[in-house]
């Protein structure tokens, strides 16, 4: 496969361009919602040092979403702020599992958030994020690979953090273990769309957006997470919907309304 080295060259190859954009939207929309759910935890983490760590990871994750939305902007899409804040839920490609609220209540009112959900979800997501970035970095579309490489140099800190929490909690009290196991079972019912390319896997591979098949990447993910978590040997199901096919519930609407509130209040403002 011939490589595509520049944005200009990519703009001239429509099939590769559409494949690249779909891949980038999946990545950016996932990071955007993950960062928003993380921001809701601010001030509520189990202890002060965790609050520092979690908010730093969350801020950096939003930086990754910005980087990818900016890459999309360079590829002819709207400006990054609009891609982040002005697209309705029906246009988003984020995973419904990542959109799920942190727990009952809101961060302003009776937030009964569940740390077990945070730990399991973020460990599973960061592992998938690494695998999907690695395959893009080894792909043949340079503008996509460059963004992936940059994020990959920072993301290991995020993954290591959530892996540490998962390992330590699984090895602590019976209650902690039980609560984590419940969230693992839940993930295996609902996280199927997160580790999917939404029917575009073959197109990604054929155009060099990714260097591996979707099936191979999913198996790599399964093997890696099962080396850490007591998880089933099959891939997760998609019982909550399929965000990659733009099937979202009301959770995403709530998240977008809150996260875009300032942007929406004055769309012409210069920040």
């Amino acid at each position: 496969m011939t490589s595509i080295d520049t944005v200009e060259a990519l703009l001239e190859n429509n099939e590769a361009l559409q494949a690249a954009k779909t891949f980038l939207f999946q990545l950016a929309d996932d990071d955007y919602i993950t960062s928003f759910r993380g921001s809701e935890w601010l001030g509520l983490a189990p202890h002060i040092e965790e609050d520092v760590a979690f908010s730093s990871i969350t801020q950096n994750t939003m930086g990754h979403a910005v980087l990818v939305y900016q890459t999309l902007e360079a590829l002819g899409e709207a400006e990054a702020d609009k891609l982040a804040h002005a697209r309705p839920a029906g246009e988003r490609l984020s995973s419904v599992y990542l959109e799920k609220p942190n727990g009952p209540g809101t961060y302003l009112d009776e937030p009964h958030y569940d740390w077990a959900l945070a730990v399991i979800r973020l460990y599973l997501y960061e592992t998938w994020k690494k695998i999907r970035l690695q395959t893009a970095a080894r792909g043949s579309i340079r503008p996509v690979a460059a963004a992936a490489e940059k994020i990959l140099m920072e993301q290991p800190y995020h993954l290591a953090h959530w892996k540490m929490w998962a390992v330590q909690l699984l090895d602590s009290t019976p209650e902690a273990k039980e609560r984590l196991e419940e969230r693992i079972a839940e993930a295996w019912r609902e996280a199927g769309d997160m580790i999917s390319f939404g029917g575009h896997g073959q197109t990604f591979l054929e155009n060099g957006v990714t260097a591996d098949s979707e099936e191979a990447l999913q198996l790599r993910w399964l093997e890696e997470v099962r080396s850490v978590l007591p998880a089933p040997a099959e891939l997760p199901l998609k019982e909550a919907g399929d965000g990659r096919r733009k099937e979202h519930g009301s959770d995403l609407d709530q998240a977008l309304k809150t996260c875009s509130e300032v942007f929406t209040s004055d769309r012409e403002a210069v920040w």
Binding site: E49, V52, G63, Q134, A137, K150, I151, E154, P156
Partner: protein, 166 residues
């Protein structure tokens, strides 16, 4: 043209990191390339961490500094993700200034999962412990010196993915 480039670079060198007064963005290794065409300058920079909220400030400050040159009519600053920032990019002067701020320069070689090798920026002791990998900014961690009993920060080493050949 070379003389003009040097003039622009001298202006760029005056810009400090917004979070670290007296540590210039040049000494942090964030300046990749200066190009001059007639009276217009183009500065390509490399972000340390992508999620850094200071990038917009840095961009604006570099533009302002370059525009101070009387012959400049325009200056464009862009951040490139094609170039990779690395620990080696920090200059000797950058390392010296970082220590004055209580920030240990990033370690030269780092393998994920292994212990860091950074010394206390105040007393130079290697008897330090990691308090929090994540600090006040994305590129910094919080440590504690067990010799002089000072908390300090260290710039995080960047990690090169082992599955990539480059």
């Amino acid at each position: 043209m070379e003389a003009k480039k040097r003039e622009v670079l001298e202006q760029v060198k005056k810009v400090d990191d917004p979070e670290l007064p007296n540590v210039s963005v040049y000494d942090l290794g964030m300046v990749h390339e200066v190009q001059v065409e007639e009276s217009r300058a183009h500065v390509t920079m490399i972000p340390t961490f992508a999620g850094c909220p200071a990038l917009d400030f840095i961009k604006k400050n570099v533009e302002t500094a370059v525009r101070e040159l009387s012959w400049i009519t325009g200056c464009e600053v862009t951040f490139s993700f094609n170039e990779i920032w690395s620990t080696d990019s920090v200059t000797e002067e950058g390392r010296r200034q970082l220590k004055k701020h209580g920030v240990a320069p990033p370690p030269d070689e780092y393998t994920p999962g292994e212990e860091w090798q950074v010394d206390c920026p105040y007393c130079g002791s290697a008897y330090v412990s990691m308090e929090n990998v994540f600090g006040p900014t994305a590129c910094r961690s919080i440590l504690y010196c067990r010799s002089c009993r000072n908390p300090f920060e260290a710039m995080k080493p960047v990690i090169r993915d082992k599955t990539l050949a480059r």
